[in-house]
Amino acid sequence: MSTPVKKAAPKIASTAREKLRPAINAVLVPLLAVFTAMVIGALVIKAVGGDPLAAYRGLFEGAFGSAKALSETTVWATPYIFAGLAVALAFKGGLFNIGAEGQLAFGAVAAAWVGYALPDVLGVTLPAVVHIPLTVGAGMLAGGIWGAIPGWLKAHTGAHEVINTIMMNYIALNMTSFLLNGPMKDPHPLNVVARTPRIAESARIPPIFPGLRLHWGFVLALAIAGIVWWVLQKTTLGFEIRTAGANPDAARYAGVSVSRTIVVTMMLSGVLAGLAGATEVTALNYRHELGFSVGYGFDAIAIALLGKTHPLGVVLAALLFGAMRNGATRMQFLTQIPVDVISVIQALILLFVAADAIIRWIYRIRAREERLVLTRGWGG
């Protein structure tokens, strides 16, 4: 009488486990990569005389310890989500977009201009419902153009996008420096810094709660992540992008225009990065300032890889990186450990994610997914 029951029970349990298994496997290596990187980070902190537990406590407190901290974490995470999606989308298309930094900069500049100059140029005050989309749209357009250029060059001359996007970053830096020190400089008499004037009230995206800097741009980022997933998985365009990325020859055989797809992919990637810049301008700073290279470009690569180029993964990875950057200031304040240790940890995370064989070997996990290979030499 007991036998049929015994036979039934294990069957139910194993089905549940089977359903969970892919999910667990997907997050396992990235999670362990982060964990291992933090352990090594702790060793590094210890080696230079610091207290790792106090440091990490400070980091945690700074990132999640209060409503203000959480809000600041999302503020940091928002551009990371957009930039991470940009790089991830390019990866899906078999392309390596290191130009997120430059595309972001142009997106910010364009958005700022539409934000502060358009009402004057047109001679009318614009209602927010018109001005905000125009501003954000300008950012998307600028980023898209900046991304499309290296895409076009690759499609039609074979020039590898890695170096071109890096060069475009430096060109963007120079051009924005020129604009923000010159024609677009804030003419306010008290101002000496290279930055634009504040954008009009009608162009600003409001914060969600008064007093905290958490803004609707964050919600937009989450929504866009969902849209990117849907486009990639459920539309023809997404299919073309993924196929051209996985196997260009097979794609051509299937009738996909690979060169057109390359340009479109890079353009969309640029659009996403441009959004990162645009939301910073419209929702956070209300202007664009010649900031210091926070290194969004490289961070975005790490985020895209950590998130396994899946939009949900990217969001989670972006939140992690945002938390680390945000919490680092508090960590330095409390323990005098320099914020640069975060960069070391992030570099290690990237190392372990890229060479996941190392993680697999440490923790004895079998390989299940195929490897991401993007390099096919310099093309041409």
Partner: protein
């Protein structure tokens, strides 16, 4: 395989819980205590290590620690969007004086002033404009144009080739502009036919313009190859590079901000003097005033500026030249001489 997995996951959970739930802070000084006088310094995006600007101000704060018993700390800003946040870290913890270093923090400091009325703010290089003063914010400013003027006059008088030069950070920063143009004005004042070549490092972003010694050195050497025999290096580490280029090529150099004889000893053989703005005593004096209760009610506090001693090159400076320089210096102090340099670069 599964055992390792479980082991690692549990380890992960344990450590995370440990980190999150452990008790906060050890025996740190409590700044909210009225008897504990705390001074915080927020740097510009740049570091405490720049051998001039941020560092000299920090020296002033450390002097307060040593002589006045203040508890001191600094935060380095890594991103300009964090200015407000970093100021708030100190203010919320009950610090009594917050020093913000650099004109770029001007706006954030003015915003923080009214939010934290009990805190005294010292804004280094943040000129407070009449009508826009905030009671607890004092701008520590310096007459860099006078300092530069003296340097220019000295350089013009000491130059044998009739060509002098200057390698500067970006002229978008008013103090740099004043140093550079003061140098030009001073040179032309004593020797109208002297050729003055000033190169501002405008081609890079703010993060690099004061931290590019390589460019500074290459530019200085390029000038020297064309006959320049005195170079004024005015722009943080970029300027330091110029001083090194002079030392390598055997021409005279003039430093900036502090007596660079001590901060760039590699250039001692070439260093004629430095156009100083005395950040350290200026900062210290204001902190002392705050502690004693005589902090100025908003507005500006003008620090001291002047030339450093000649050190190793003292015997190369003829008496008449030194006399002329002293004469100009005195004229500034009397108010009988104006440099004619605009406070910031005209649009």
């Amino acid at each position: 395989m599964r055992k390792y997995l479980l082991a690692s996951i549990s380890l992960l959970t344990v450590v995370t819980l440990l980190a999150a739930c452990a008790p906060a802070g050890e025996g740190e000084a409590d700044c909210s205590d009225p008897d504990v006088f705390c001074v915080g310094l927020v740097t510009d995006v740049g570091k405490i290590d720049d051998k001039s600007f941020n560092q000299s101000t920090w020296e002033g704060v450390k002097q307060a620690e040593k002589e006045l018993g203040a508890v001191v700390q600094y935060i380095e800003t890594t991103d300009s969007k964090d200015y407000g946040k970093n100021i708030a870290q100190f203010a919320d913890a009950g610090f009594d004086v917050i020093v913000t270093v650099g004109f770029a923090l001007g706006e954030a400091t003015l915003e923080a002033g009214p939010q934290y009325p009990d805190v005294k703010f010292i804004g280094v290089d943040q000129e407070q404009y009449p009508g826009a003063e905030v009671e607890n914010v004092v701008g520590l400013i310096f007459p860099e144009d006078q300092s530069g003027f003296l340097a220019g006059a000295l350089a013009a008088l000491m130059s044998e080739s009739g060509k002098i030069g200057s390698v500067c950070g970006t002229d978008a920063v008013p103090p740099v502009w004043r140093f550079g143009e003061g140098y030009r004005a001073g040179a032309q004042y004593v020797r109208p036919d002297v050729e003055v070549n000033i190169v501002y490092h405008n081609d890079v972003g703010f993060d690099k313009t004061f931290t590019d010694p390589e460019w500074g050195k290459t530019t200085a050497i390029s000038m020297i190859d064309k006959g320049v025999d005195v170079v004024f290096g005015a722009g943080g580490k970029t300027g330091n590079g110029a001083l090194l280029g002079c030392a390598e090529k055997g021409v005279m150099a003039i430093g900036v901000d502090t007596d660079q004889y001590y901060t760039v000893p590699e250039a001692q053989s070439a260093l004629l003097t430095s156009a100083m703005k005395l950040l350290t005593p200026g900062t210290f004096d204001l902190i002392k005033m705050a502690m004693e209760g005589n902090f100025p009610q908003g507005g500006n506090y003008v620090g001291a500026a002047g030339l450093a001693p000649y050190h190793d090159l003292a015997d190369r400076v003829p008496a008449e030249v030194d006399a002329k320089v002293q004469e100009i210096d005195q004229a500034f102090k009397d108010g009988t001489l104006q440099t004619g340099v605009s406070p910031a670069k005209p649009e």
